[in-house]
Amino acid sequence: MRYPRKGKGRGLRRVRSNLARVAALSVIGLVVLARSAAAQGDATKGEYLFRAAGCYACHTRPVSGARPLAGGRAFETPFGTFYSPNITPDPDHGIGRWGLADFARALRLGEAPDGSHYFPAFPFTSYSGMRDRDLADLWAYLKGVDPFPEPNREHELNFPFGFRFLAGLWKWLFFEPGSFEPDPARDVLWNRGAYLTRHLSHCGECHTPRNLLGALQDDRYLAGTLKGPDGKKVPNITPHSGDGIGDWSESDITFFLQLGVLPDGDVAGGAMEDVIREGTGHLTDQDRKAIAVYLKSLPEHPGP
């Protein structure tokens, strides 16, 4: 069995040492982050990151008139239905009582302020690699959006997945908090694309198939899946010719991310339409190009 994230098998000892790192990160790292200069985030930059990180699409119901970021979007998975929570700054139903440290803990470690574990439907596995500066800027933006008192809806999970401690066990098995390490052998554009694709824009959370326990199959990175978050097919976006987007030019990709129009003249559907309209459509041409360059460089896979 291959473990996801780093794409290499790991022994128990390594897992335990990771667990120690998690503990160290949660106690020291977050306090340091919260007290550092980065704590004064830039909300304008944060708004851009908010677009790149695709927060809107998952935390807003896909119906006209839905309150932005008030949560409630359903994700039908083999484990049951997850409902995204309210992330407006409402003090009772949203994240109005959170500080930067709570926010960082959620995105880096997948932990709620009370220490309970988030299910990996929330892509902390990708966000974990977000830069300190970006975390602080994103937080500065999010805490300034309009609050809305929409109560959160409980997940409807199949037995036994509803037990939160299992999410902790899952993390112990599959999750390694990490930071983005640029590849010095690649140029700035490629590295920017890697950071966006793998972490901030978390493309793999929908486009990479998951194993029986819901962990991303890193050896099939971005190879698409028949059971995406809407319970529907998510396309292969590796450079495989035929199954993937190997026949797309770099400008086909950037154009798609900008306007949602496919090379055959059709338009993006499903969640991707929201991702483009609220997210990638607002990015700079340079960032869209970075994603395209990175995608074109990946190993090709057939399927799904």
């Binding site: 809407d230 097919k233 400008s251 306007l259 949602g260 090379p263 993006a268």
Partner: protein, 151 residues
């Protein structure tokens, strides 16, 4: 001349009523409909090549926009009742007929957006063309999202 107009009007009305009776086989209507959609898609892909800057046929944008505009007026007619995905191989959801007014409105949006693109195209302003083209794409999505099975 008046008599000719009257005859033409009667012939036209008969033609329309024959169409309304829709004796065409659902499979053939679906096949025709898909060809119409592909034709719209062909115009979209053609404009995309110009907007991306791959080809310099900026003066063709209006031709394609007018093509889409003409076809947009055919959209509702190619969705007669009984051609949904319940018993046929099509991506057309039954919601089209459950919410016919909404569907007509969504089709109308393509008419408006493509007409706008055709007029903006005359300016030759790449930025404006790209924005208007984006709106046409949104109009496509405005129908596909609620009324089509996700690909």
């Amino acid at each position: 001349m008046k008599k000719l107009s009257a005859v033409l009007a009667v012939v036209g009305a008969l033609g329309l009523s024959t169409q309304a009776l829709a004796v065409d086989e659902p499979e053939n209507v679906i096949k025709y409909r898909q060809a119409v959609m592909k034709a719209i898609g062909g115009h979209m892909a053609s404009i995309a090549g110009v907007v991306k800057g791959e080809v310099s046929y900026t003066d063709h944008v209006a031709i394609h926009a007018n093509g889409i505009n003409a076809l947009s007026k055919a959209v509702t007619a190619v969705f007669p009742e009984g051609t949904d995905n319940g018993s046929h191989k099509t991506a057309a959801l039954p919601k089209i007929w459950e919410d016919w007014a909404g569907f007509e409105k969504a089709a109308q949006a393509l008419d408006t957006a493509s007409a706008n693109l055709a007029s903006v195209a005359a300016s030759g302003d790449k930025q404006k063309i790209a924005a208007a083209f984006g709106d046409v794409g949104k109009a496509c999505g405005g129908c596909h999202k609620p009324y089509r099975v996700k690909k």
